[in-house]
């Protein structure tokens, strides 16, 4: 019943995801998830000095920065077929 009630929202969300419209939200969510996981790891273990890995050390990109960055990455490899 809930699925039926939520279908317009689900379809809209699917369209946003597939079209790439939600890419920046996904990036923020993903970056925060990675940061949380790294913090949890650091909390239960000895904290090592030195550069931290991946997203925790990176500053969050603005929407515009992320858009340009994502385009550069996508079009430097084969992304469209014949």
């Amino acid at each position: 019943m809930t699925i039926v009630r939520n279908w317009p929202r689900n379809i809209w969300s699917w369209i946003r995801q597939v079209s790439g419209d939600a890419a920046y939200e996904n990036y923020l969510r993903s970056t925060r998830r990675v940061a949380r996981a790294e913090m949890a790891r650091a909390g239960c273990c000895t904290i090592h000095a030195g550069p931290s890995t991946r997203a925790t050390s990176a500053h969050l990109l603005t929407r515009e920065e992320f858009y340009l960055h994502a385009l550069r990455r996508r079009y430097s490899t084969i992304s469209r077929c014949c």
């Binding site: 597939v18 079209s19 997203a55 515009e64 430097s76 084969i78 014949c82």
Partner: protein, 688 residues
């Protein structure tokens, strides 16, 4: 009780599919309704997905959902992003679906509907889907490595180099042949040329909007862009009706080719956000919308197929392209059945975003089934035309003659009814000056699609608008392939060239960018120019070359997959990849041999060159055509050399791989897999 119901349901689906396939194969009281094709394809896909892909997932690959995928282990918010399978299949399908599954089946319809349809359905279920699925799995297990990297690590260093060269070769030939399809569709067509030209400022507007006004708001920019493109399609009729505007947008084949070459150079060198990316968004929306509309239209209109099951051209003397069903039907239809290019997508972005190993089945196998269905719909649209009309549109003037009367007389001589008036009336109905000598497949597909669309919405009144919508849809996403392909080709040339001369390899160097863009555009531009100048239409020589290159890449992918299965200890199941590989080697080698050495001058490049050389020697060529003929001779010899290089690459790779397989099977060499180590997932099982 529940399992009994399931058995009954699957038996009913299998029987319906078998019945529909039998009707297509054995029914000779033509014409046949398109519903048979839809039922045959959908039922076969359901059975193949439910049973064969499940068997591969469980027994051959042993997919393991307890194992963390690269998207989980290496998540970075950029490349490695865990993504729902329902979203990822959309991304993957949009990436693999290009002009190939539309144009290939349309060209292969010259044999009749039967060979192409069977190859589309069976080839996809047993070959293309298997390749995409297994390569996706292999890449997931190797942190998203590319096909070239996997070939280098799992087969040999030479295998990796062959994969790289094959990719570059296929890119150059692919870009030339798709550009030729646009030239053939738009030459002397002011309405079509205007519509396509308008997509450039529309894409630039979208680019500026997405960069400066509302960064990254893809959906709103794309919806605005689609609305403007539809407006351009509709306003094209007024351009067509105005003598001044019409003459401004009426371009000859060579003029269009030069314009496309200039455009390709600009798009490759300009910032990606300005033209390439917005055009890609626009194209993706229109592509998915048009394909969905075609599927709905086919089901709603249920057109009757006018083309016979087999035409007289199974003898190899077809006007669209020369050569018998074996091997040329299987070379011509690549992307709808099996396409090596897909292996690049399956080992590109998709494996980095997959959430669970088991999702590879739906995304790899399932998306390719969808692509195959696109090919079946293209076959339906092409075969719904009267055969005489189909051959009049797709045959070059060099074969059927330059005038409507000559074309009609030649085609009637083949046994297909056609009045010269039929063609001029049809051209008028779709808003074109002529539909004769429109080789390349796109115009005949557009006529077929327009008939299906207008049967659903608008009727005869909207036929011309639907025709130009279909032309715009095909040309738009061909141009996107051209933009994106030239850019990636430029990176590959930069990477290779950097080894020879360091400044060429610097990605930020303007001179390097301009020089490598010129090299890449010059390479495909040369083949395009050759196709435009070809008196036999160009498609006859370039499309088989593209098919051979594409299937060569599929051979590379299946060799890699077979080697990995052997190393995984799955000797018992290697027929899953070995059988399609043997088939592909057989068709690529036969096609290569025939394209080089056939005594039929319409098939063999060398014999065509010899015929022209003899004509020059005997004085049959007038002095003013001397230079053009010399160039045609050179082009034919060049095409023969390119084909030979591709064939040698297949042989070298096979020898390398077979040596590796024998060494592993005889125990002389340890089967070392280059998989990433097992790390258990931390996410709840079954979560999306």
């Amino acid at each position: 009780m529940k399992s009994l119901l399931k058995i009954i349901l699957w038996a009913a689906i299998a029987l319906a599919g078998a019945g529909a396939l039998a009707a297509i194969a054995f029914e000779r009281r033509e014409p046949l309704n398109a519903v048979w094709f839809v039922v045959a394809a959908l039922c076969t896909y359901l059975v193949a997905y439910r049973f064969y892909s499940k068997f591969i997932a469980a027994k051959v690959l042993a997919l393991d959902d307890t194992r963390a995928t690269p998207a989980e282990r290496l998540e970075d918010g950029h490349d490695f992003v865990p993504t729902s399978k329902w979203v990822l299949i959309g991304h993957h399908f949009a990436a693999i679906a290009g002009p190939g599954p539309l144009v290939g089946p349309t060209l292969a319809a010259q044999f009749g509907y039967l060979p192409g349809t069977l190859w589309l359905i069976v080839g996809a279920a047993l070959g293309g889907c298997v390749q995409d699925f297994i390569i996706l799995f292999c890449s997931i297990r190797r942190d998203g490595k590319s096909l070239g990297q996997m070939a280098r690590e799992e087969v040999s260093k030479r295998g990796g180099m062959i994969a790289l060269l094959a990719v570059l070769a296929i890119m150059i030939i692919l870009l030339a042949v798709v550009a030729l399809v646009i030239v053939k569709a738009l030459k002397e067509s002011p309405w079509g040329t205007f519509t396509l030209a308008m997509t450039i400022p529309i894409a630039l507007l979208m680019g500026i909007y997405l960069r400066y006004v509302r960064p990254g708001r893809v959906l709103e920019a794309s919806l605005g862009g689609v609305a403007l493109v539809m407006l351009a399609v509709v306003s094209g009729q007024w351009v067509n009706a105005s003598p001044a505007w019409s003459s401004a947008f009426t371009l000859s084949g060579p003029a269009l080719a030069l314009a496309i070459i200039a455009y390709g150079y600009a798009a490759s060198a300009l910032p990606v956000w300005l033209l390439l990316a917005p055009r890609d968004y626009l194209s993706a929306f229109i592509k998915v919308g048009a394909i969905a509309a075609l599927a709905i239209g086919v089901i709603f209109v249920r057109p009757t197929l006018e083309m016979p099951a087999l035409t007289r051209f199974v003898d190899g003397n077809g006007p669209v392209f020369a050569g018998k069903i074996f091997p040329f039907c299987f070379i011509t239809i690549a992307c709808g059945a099996i396409s090596g290019f897909h292996a690049l997508i399956s080992s590109g972005t998709t494996p980095k975003m997959i959430l669970r190993e088991s999702h590879a089945r739906m995304i790899g196998y399932g998306a390719m089934l969808m692509e195959s269905f696109v090919g079946v719909m293209a076959m339906i649209a092409a075969c719904a035309l009267q055969p005489g009309v189909y051959f009049a549109i797709n045959s070059p003037a060099g074969i059927v003659g330059k005038t409507a009367d000559a074309a009609a007389a030649t085609i009637r001589g083949w046994g297909y009814a056609l009045d010269p008036q039929t063609m001029s009336a049809l051209a008028q109905r779709v808003g074109e000056h002529t539909l004769l000598d429109r080789t390349g497949g796109a115009p005949s597909l557009a006529v077929g699609m327009a008939q299906i669309f207008s049967g659903t919405i608008g009727g005869e009144r909207l036929l011309s608008i639907w025709y130009h919508f279909a032309i715009m849809f095909e040309a738009l996403f061909i141009l996107t392939v051209l933009d994106a392909g030239t850019r990636v080709g430029r990176f590959m040339v930069q990477e290779l060239g950097g080894h020879l001369w360091k400044p060429l390899g610097r990605s930020g160097s303007t001179a390097g960018i301009l020089a490598t863009s010129a090299l890449m555009v010059g390479a495909w531009g040369y083949f395009l120019w050759q196709g435009v100048q070809d008196p036999l239409g160009g498609i006859n020589s370039l499309w088989p070359l593209f098919g051979i290159a594409n299937q060569l890449l599929a051979c590379v992918a299946l060799v890699v997959a077979t080697t990995i299965l052997l190393k995984m200890g799955r000797e018992r199941w290697i027929w899953v990849t070995l059988a399609p590989m043997v088939w592909l080697v057989a068709i690529t080698m036969t096609a290569s041999y025939q394209k080089i050495f056939s005594a039929n001058s319409r098939i063999g490049f060398l014999s065509q060159a010899n015929v022209l050389a003899t004509q020059i020697a005997s004085g049959a060529i007038p002095a003013e055509k001397f230079a053009v003929t010399q160039r045609l001779i050179f082009n034919n010899r060049l095409d023969a050399a390119v084909t030979a290089v591709l064939a040698v690459m297949i042989l070298v790779l096979l020898v390398e791989a077979i040596g590796e397989w024998i060494a592993i099977l005889s125990g002389r060499k340890a089967a070392v897999l280059h998989e990433s180590p097992y790390i258990a997932t931390k996410w709840a099982e079954g979560g999306d």
